[in-house]
């Protein structure tokens, strides 16, 4: 990193690495940092203390910092920033880094490191952070001298936020933060080895258009990549122009309005009957920013047996990784969709008449596969709570979730009409994600309604962040669907282990109302179906405080439909 391209306004005064650190953040416009101090980063913390441009949010566990930065990043499209100390600070952040890697979330994670002279000596709080994080980052950098720091930070933000986004770790030894140099921020990340492809190949776009024009049973399958590349408008325009049915992955919800008649719901393991059947019977599959993971495809040799696949993705390695694409188009989803829409509008093509296909999809949709019944004198059905949440927020809230049944029910029942409103952990499936992610969302959108839908098991994985919420006055609404079980685990045990509930019962639960109160929040316990609606109304109206709403729900409810692992889309378990 010696080919520094210096910015135009040279200064003469020397700054320390710690000062340079904050200056670089300001240069990047990265003025919210989630972190936790410790020995290796104390110079940096001292510097943060002296200035006012960068806000530091003190979490209660470094995992929380990473998830909060993810919530911030996913809801804004900006790069999220994390700052933790060496050793345990770094290892605690690893789950969040891996989560960001799996879901392509742009993060820059700064980890303190022991002094360069001590590296390799098993020094106090030394871990090989670059080695530990290597398999779960887009890139990582150990900064060995202060002269390398500005370019390392410039590159980190550039790499994290461009192409297929992802986390970048910058490991900074303590002595680097005290060395000094004349600072100037490089204008150019100057990387010959990193140049993501953005424009789609014109020939491939023409091939895709020809295939689309000949389709009889087409389907659009779009994922998180559409949201990352802010391609929701282009996707909507393309979908409306073609008149094709569209399904979204778990990560892609909100990229196309969930209330639109062309939307045939989420697909995959807990997707709708019509979406999965339409996938199975399709003859042209247009995949955009989606990666054909196993929760989507089920058994690969039974997946989309009749389809010609057009696959649009900015990451070439996602194409034909799991499933062969006939027309691969490498490029940014937004640019490619725009080019494809322009091509289709060119007058050379007529859109196929697919009314028979829509008729068939309508038949499948009659199964109403997300339906549930709420007996108003019985136990609260979790779906009922979410249905009410949807209705009362007008589909307009930011909703984060943890991992389990409750997550799938939000995905099925909350009709997102805008991108970046649905914030969940899809790829890694990290319990504990929901609350800290909601903090990041709320900090980025102080006046917005932010709800964290969780389960009594998941919430306990990062419950300490209730304290952070108190410190920063974050009025998050926690919707705890308390079924006294690790419901998703119990469901698998019902289906595949003759209902032997090994370790899935959540014994010794805390009194969540008192717990919330002890952190200085409001708590509420809701046990009867008839109380759900008024309780939610009250909860959502409390704009100035966090409310922990503990909904005691039916412990036996399962998520349907379900494609068992290793089954194909036309082998769904319906109820």
């Amino acid at each position: 990193m010696d080919n520094l391209k210096q910015s135009s306004n040279p200064e003469t005064q020397e700054l320390t690495g710690a000062e340079i650190f904050t200056r670089c953040l300001v240069e990047e416009g990265a003025t919210t940092v989630f972190g936790y101090p410790g020995g290796a980063v104390l110079h940096i913390y001292d510097e943060l203390h002296k200035q006012e441009e960068v806000d530091h949010i003190l979490v209660r566990h470094e995992q929380g910092a990473a998830h909060a930065a993810e919530g911030f990043a996913k809801s804004t499209g900006k790069v999220g920033v994390v700052l933790v100390t060496s050793g345990p600070g770094a290892t605690n952040a690893v789950t969040g880094i891996a989560d960001a890697y799996m879901d392509s979330v742009p993060l820059v994670v700064f980890t303190g490191q022991v002094r360069t002279a001590l590296i390799g000596n098993d020094a106090f709080q030394e871990v090989d952070t670059v080695g530990i994080t290597r398999p779960c980052v887009k890139h990582n950098i150990l900064v060995k001298k202060v002269e390398d720091l500005p370019l390392a930070i410039k590159r980190a933000f550039h790499i994290a936020g461009t192409g297929r986004p992802g986390p970048v770790v910058v490991d900074i030894p303590k002595d680097v933060t005290e060395q000094s140099m004349v600072f100037s921020y490089p204008q150019d990340p100057d990387m010959r080895s990193y140049q993501p492809t953005i424009e789609g190949h014109a020939g491939q776009i023409k091939r895709a258009a020809r295939l689309i024009a000949k389709a009889e049973r087409p389907i659009i399958y779009s994922g998180g990549g559409v949201i990352s590349s802010n391609a929701h408008e282009e996707l909507t325009e393309f979908t409306r122009l073609t008149g094709f049915p569209i399904t979204n992955t778990l990560m892609g919800l909100g990229a196309y309005p969930g209330t639109d008649p062309q939307f045939i719901q989420m697909l995959g393991m807990h997707g709708s009957y019509e979406a999965n059947m339409a996938m199975h019977h399709s003859d042209v599959l247009i995949a955009v920013g989606a990666r054909f993971d196993d929760r989507i495809t089920g058994r690969l040799d039974g997946f989309c047996p009749y389809a010609k696949v057009i696959h649009i993705d900015v990451d070439p390695s996602s194409i034909s990784k799991n499933f062969r694409a006939h027309v691969p188009v490498v490029g940014d989803a937004r640019k490619v969709l725009r080019a494809l829409t322009d091509e289709l509008r060119d007058g050379k093509y007529t859109m196929p008449d697919i009314s028979a296909w829509w008729g068939q999809i309508g038949e499948w949709a009659k199964k109403d596969s997300f339906a549930y019944e709420q007996d108003m004198d019985g136990e609260i059905k979790p779906q009922y709570v979410l249905d009410q949440l949807y209705k009362q927020t007008g589909g307009d809230a930011f909703v984060t979730s943890d991992v389990g049944q409750h997550q799938m029910w939000v995905a099925q029942l909350y009709k997102f009409t805008q991108p970046r409103r649905w914030i969940n952990s899809g790829g890694l499936g990290t319990m504990g994600f929901g609350l800290p992610a909601a903090m990041g969302v709320q900090l980025a959108h102080p006046d917005a309604q932010v709800c964290c839908v969780t389960g009594e098991a998941s919430i306990q994985m990062c419950i300490q962040e209730l304290s952070t919420c108190r410190q920063y006055g974050l009025p998050i609404k926690i919707i705890n669907l308390n079924n006294r079980y690790m419901g998703m685990v119990r469901q698998w045990q019902d289906f595949f282990y003759d209902s032997r509930y090994a370790m899935s019962y959540m014994d010794a639960l805390p009194d969540f109302v008192k717990l919330a109160e002890s952190y200085g929040h409001a708590g509420m316990k809701i046990e009867k179906p008839k109380d759900v609606e008024p309780a939610l109304r009250e909860i959502l109206s409390l704009k100035d405080r966090l409310v922990f709403a503990d909904f005691v729900t039916d412990p036996r409810e399962n998520v349907f439909p379900m494609i068992a692992p290793g089954a194909a889309h036309n082998e769904m378990i319906l109820s």
Partner: protein
């Protein structure tokens, strides 16, 4: 199927482990890997030999290319290229009279004696991997006590040059 890849990457600490990590994380074995800096010292060049079908190779090539440190990846398998490997082979000859035998085999395979001691001869052989295999087979009646092989190096024939702009 055997594959040979040529990779140019930033000559930085950690670059090699990124590549090695990638193969193990994707469950693909590296048969051999040779790496050294190029005349442009900011770059290293690797020659990797691995096994896999077209799909695996396509995926590994894309994944390699995705590494931020990697500048160029070329699959040389199907291209016209020169491949050479070097081996150092320590032998205990069957009897004193076998030196002729050794020299005869060295002549065939362009080997030479690099070291001699009271009990052992060390020969040095450069050739394709098959030639080295054949050399070892030819020495089978002697005791091969130690073998060290460099793994193949590869370079395109003709005018084609592996450069930072060339990619597949």
């Amino acid at each position: 199927m055997r594959r040979i890849l040529a990779v140019l990457l930033e000559n930085e600490a950690g670059s090699l482990s990124r590549v090695a990590n990638l193969f193990s994380a994707r469950g693909i074995n590296i048969e051999s890997l040779a790496v050294t800096p190029t005349p442009d010292e900011t770059l290293s060049r690797m020659t990797i030999v691995t096994f896999g079908d077209d799909r695996i190779l396509e995926q590994i090539t894309k994944q390699l290319h995705k590494l931020v440190d990697v500048v160029t990846v070329v699959d040389m398998t199907g291209q016209n290229h020169v491949e050479r490997e070097m081996a150092l082979i320590k032998l205990r000859l069957r009897d004193e009279g076998s030196v002729d035998d050794l020299q005869r085999v060295n002549k065939v395979y362009r080997g030479r004696i690099a070291d001699v001691s009271a009990l052992c001869y060390t020969s040095e052989v450069v050739g394709t991997s098959e030639e080295i295999d054949a050399y070892l087979a030819a020495m089978a009646e002697h005791e091969v006590v130690e073998v060290v092989r460099s793994g193949p190096l590869g370079i395109a024939r003709g005018e084609q040059v592996l450069s930072i702009r060339q990619n597949q």
